[in-house]
């Protein structure tokens, strides 16, 4: 660790990206290859060629195929290999990105998802052809209802934000079934940005509720804002500052007294699996993020899946079709839900992702899921305790599965952004920055890291704190080891270049 502490630049040995990738620009796809090349092959045609002009109006026919790149197979392989090398990932790096639950993604999830019986079935095949898959989906929806402590789950939504939107549609339909059109949705000002954005998609007005200085909901503010026009309160618990709000029963009571619904943003479910259930603490409706809680891969930004769990009184409104088990023990899709909101996407859901979530839940079981949350919470509290002398946490322990710290670098001029960029030099992916409060880092180690990795993170954070005192310039100009230095993000938005143009 001596080099880490003293060297202004990190030695090659600790460089996360290979030295051969350090220098020089990597060409974009459109700069390589030669006319006539391609990286695949097809059999010779065994049917007559149709004269296109004879069957399609010539106005609609293309003269030439679209000018996609023309690159040979080996160069395509090298292109994507090099791109892969230029990415931090869970498999390559500690990735404590708060609120995103960057846990290990077990290889077996991928293996199962690619079994032909799951990967190569068509959504319009006969139910009799897909009984195994339907049973899997049915089991998964029951498991997710049990984990939530709620009555029923729809697997249809495509991601967390899509689940939020679906849930708000369900809540709106519920109120409308009672002859009410409630137009307001409340959410704490520390809520994920998707919460108010989902309100807007659902045509509702989003109203902020204040958080107190200890990170918990201000009940007086809540009482003053919840009224007969309030459709729901969207809450995250444990919340986005990493605290379980123990006032949850009061919150539920205040919301329900006005006939509003309590919605839980399930982004932080990794902290409470098998320990407490949203349905038990008053939640009417919630979504899961399978790519967070259930280890389906994050894939460079997706795909996720956003199953929504609902209490008994919301069941009539969930999307159709729903996978059901018939009396004879076979499985099918049911459209029989006359008050349903309808469909929020094509077909049935992110099935390939749901297969991975099922695989994960089966592998861990009830005992392993509880162990997940215990270790996730333990790891977060351990890091917070080890760092607290140099990096104070504005909200007191115990923390849930993540915690917030606000770096205090005095008059060095070093910011949380600089700290984040410097972590990259040490091969660590930066935590979430500046959310949910200004100048903070939100750190979520997850349950899958070893003690050695947690300790190295502490060591690196302390080393950077030393650097800030002794050599702040090296921190302010970080990163130094990456294929590019700090990028001009302002120019990227002011004069956007979002597609390649030849010449």
């Amino acid at each position: 660790m001596t080099t880490l502490r003293t060297s202004p630049l990190i030695s090659r040995e600790t460089t996360p990206l290979g030295p051969s990738l350090r220098s020089g620009d990597h060409p974009v796809l459109f700069e390589i290859g030669s006319p006539g090349l391609w990286g695949a092959s097809l059999p010779e045609s065994d049917v007559p060629t149709v004269r296109r002009e004879a069957v399609v109006p010539k106005e609609l026919l293309a003269d030439v195929p679209p000018p996609l790149p023309e690159v040979g197979e080996l160069d395509i392989v090298r292109h994507y290999k090099r791109l892969a090398h230029r990415c931090f990932s869970i498999d390559g790096n500690f990735y404590p990105l708060g609120s995103c639950t960057m846990k290990y993604n077990p290889r077996i999830n991928e293996r199962v998802a690619f079994m032909p019986g799951f990967a190569h079935v068509h959504p319009y095949q006969d139910d009799a052809d897909v009984q195994g898959l339907l049973e899997l989906l049915y089991r998964l929806r029951c498991d997710l209802a049990e984990i939530a402590g709620l009555a029923e789950v729809t697997l249809q939504p495509a991601a967390g934000a899509h689940g939020e939107m679906t849930a708000l549609m369900i809540i709106n339909a519920y109120h409308q079934s009672r002859g009410q059109n409630r137009t307001k949705v409340l959410a704490p000002d520390t809520a994920h940005g998707t919460n108010p954005a989902s309100c807007a998609i659902c045509g509702r007005q989003s109203v902020s509720i204040k958080a107190k200085s200890d990170g918990r909901v201000d009940l007086d503010d809540l009482r003053s804002k919840v009224d007969d026009d309030t459709a729901a309160l969207m809450i995250t618990n444990p919340n986005t500052v990493g605290i379980f709000d123990e006032q949850i029963a009061d919150i539920a009571e205040i919301v329900h007294a006005k006939g509003a619904q309590l919605y839980l943003d399930g982004a932080n479910m990794n902290a409470i699996l098998g320990i407490t259930r949203p349905g038990d603490f008053g939640v009417d409706c919630m979504h899961y993020n399978t790519h967070k809680t259930f280890s389906t891969p994050h894939g460079g930004g997706g795909p996720g899946a956003g199953p929504v769990a609902v209490a008994e009184h919301l069941r009539p409104f969930i999307p159709v079709p729903q996978v059901i088990r018939k009396d004879d023990g076979t499985y099918t899709w049911s459209d029989d839900r006359p008050q349903s909101i309808g469909k929020v996407r094509s077909f049935f859901g992110q099935v390939g992702i749901l297969v991975r979530a099922y695989t994960y839940i089966r592998s861990l079981g009830c005992d392993g899921l509880r162990d997940v949350s215990e270790k996730a919470v333990l790891a977060a509290n351990y890091l917070a305790a080890k760092l607290k002398d140099r990096y104070p946490t504005p909200f007191p322990p115990p923390h849930a599965h993540e915690f917030i710290l606000v770096p205090q670098f005095g008059d060095s001029g070093v910011t949380e952004l600089d700290l984040a960029k410097r972590l990259i030099d040490y091969g660590i992916h930066p935590p979430t920055m500046s959310f949910p409060i200004h100048h903070c880092l939100m750190i979520e180690p997850t349950e899958t890291e070893s003690l050695a990795t947690l300790d190295r993170f502490v060591e690196v954070m302390l080393a950077i704190a030393d650097e800030v005192e002794q050599n702040p310039a090296v921190v302010k100009s970080a990163p130094h080891t990456t294929p590019v230095r700090r990028l001009d993000e302002v120019a990227a938005s002011r004069k956007p270049n979002v597609r390649w143009r030849a010449g």
Binding site: L68, P297, L364
Partner: protein, 446 residues
């Protein structure tokens, strides 16, 4: 199976550092009455071997498309996937990274999305594209919301020939927004152009049309889009990206927003998802576009690099004023589609489209000659899919096909009673002449 790595002695030491006695103490803010007593009603964990047995048993009860001949379509197609797609997309740097907010640590994925956006533009004939949405139906809904924001109008027209799932999804989204939907009826397999003209007014925000449409037929975008523009509305076209190998892309007809289902670009069927929502538009609407966008820029040294651009449109900055609520998109599928488009290239995409076209026309000709079968829309041009009407009972003939290991088509009665005697046949480049002949003989024998 557990994926945690903290041993009991380590846990003990960590608790000491934290200053509590037990792990349970860390959960003290959770009121005891809300704590789970005992265990959840979920089976206990199993070993890898047991898990493989369980999942293999479930998988083996599905009859998949590798052991049958698939003529099913209706928005999901059995196209050939080059080996490179699986091999390169499985790299764990792609699989286990997240949204590239930290540009310096994510140059690979950022560049990849930039290339993806460019290739989507090339296939659709549009100027700009985002880095993906969930799938086509919700992408169409996003496009409509975008059109209502651009035009300030709250009435849309939707062609009856658009995929029923897209229509139902549009209905669910627009019901929230009090956006009125009017349907434009079908005539001879395509949207009726006269009805469109009757319904277009100066309050119309957009027309949503699909080409090739749900029945496989090619819409007359050259004649449809000008009247839409004449009344100040936007043309939203849902398309099959593969069709661009034979047909002019929607951008060539001045479409304003193009959405598409990217499943055909190297994504396995997976029983309907996860697929890939495409959205491309005109440069002038860039700042109204939903979803993530990657831009090219320069670093401190003036070297070329990539980062997320125009993030001020997005929910994590703009919250309720964002252009969309989307956060997680379909990154890994965009990666697969990119590799597919790179591998196929200009030549390959033309070849794939030509084979689909030729084989579908061969199949249609064979089936139309059979007694008791006819093309439902014989006048309409089609690309890789067509609707067949039979007097022999749809369920019966498809059951006979299944007995021979052939998935003969999608029965349309489940969507619309008017088509109860019809089924939709899709023919991709994977289907051989012999397989098509086998389908014809199975139908003939049914």
């Amino acid at each position: 199976m557990r994926y945690t790595q903290l041993t009991d002695p380590q846990v003990h030491d960590m608790l000491g550092v934290i200053g509590v006695d037990t792990v349970d103490d860390l959960f003290s803010p959770i009121p005891p009455r809300f704590r789970v007593k005992g265990e959840l009603n979920i089976p206990r964990g199993v070993s890898e071997l047991e898990l493989l047995e369980d999942t293999h048993q479930l998988a083996s009860r599905n009859r998949d498309c590798t052991e049958q001949v698939c003529f099913l379509g209706g928005g999901a197609y059995d196209h050939f996937i080059p080996t490179l797609v699986d091999a390169l997309a499985a790299q764990s740097e792609f699989l286990t990274a997240y949204t590239p907010y930290q540009a310096e640590a994510s140059q690979g994925i950022l560049q990849l999305f930039y290339e993806f956006q460019t290739m989507v533009c090339l296939l659709t004939g549009m100027e700009v594209a985002n880095a993906s949405l969930y799938e086509v139906a919700s992408a169409a809904a996003e496009a409509v919301l975008m059109a209502t924001a651009i035009t300030g109008r709250r009435r849309i027209l939707v062609a009856e020939t658009v995929h029923p799932d897209t229509q139902r999804t549009l209905a669910a989204y627009m019901q929230q927004q009090d956006v009125e939907i009017l349907t434009v009826p079908v005539r001879d397999g395509v949207m009726d152009e006269e009805s469109l003209k009757q319904r277009l007014t100066d309050t119309t925000a957009a027309l949503v049309i699909q080409s090739p449409n749900f029945f496989g037929c090619i819409e007359r975008l050259d004649r449809i889009i000008p009247p839409v523009h004449a009344c100040g509305a936007l043309a939203i076209v849902s398309t099959d990206p593969i069709a661009g190998g034979v047909l002019k892309p929607p951008g060539a007809f001045d479409a304003d927003i193009v959405v598409g289902e990217g499943q055909a670009l190297g994504i396995p069927l997976q029983y309907g998802g996860p697929y890939l929502g495409l959205l491309a538009t005109r440069e002038k609407y860039l700042r109204k576009m939903p979803g993530r966008v990657v831009g090219m820029t320069t670093d401190l040294n003036g070297d070329r690099g990539f980062c997320l651009a125009l993030q001020t449109r997005e929910q994590h900055i703009k919250r309720e004023r964002a252009t969309s609520n989307i956060c997680t998109n379909q990154g890994l599928l965009a990666i697969r589609a990119s590799i597919y488009m790179a591998a196929m290239g200009k030549h390959g995409i033309g070849e794939v489209a030509s084979r689909c076209f030729d084989k579908a026309h061969y199949a249609a000709e064979r089936i139309a000659k059979l007694k008791g079968y006819e093309l439902r829309f014989p006048k309409a041009p089609f690309f890789k899919e067509f609707l067949v009407r039979t007097s022999r009972g749809v369920d019966a003939v498809l059951a006979r096909c299944r007995d021979r290991g052939i998935l003969g088509g999608v029965p349309l009665g489940r969507f619309d009673e008017r088509y109860a005697d019809c089924f939709l046949v899709a023919v991709t480049e994977k289907r051989t002449k012999k397989e098509i002949d086998d389908l014809a003989s199975a139908l003939d024998a049914a």
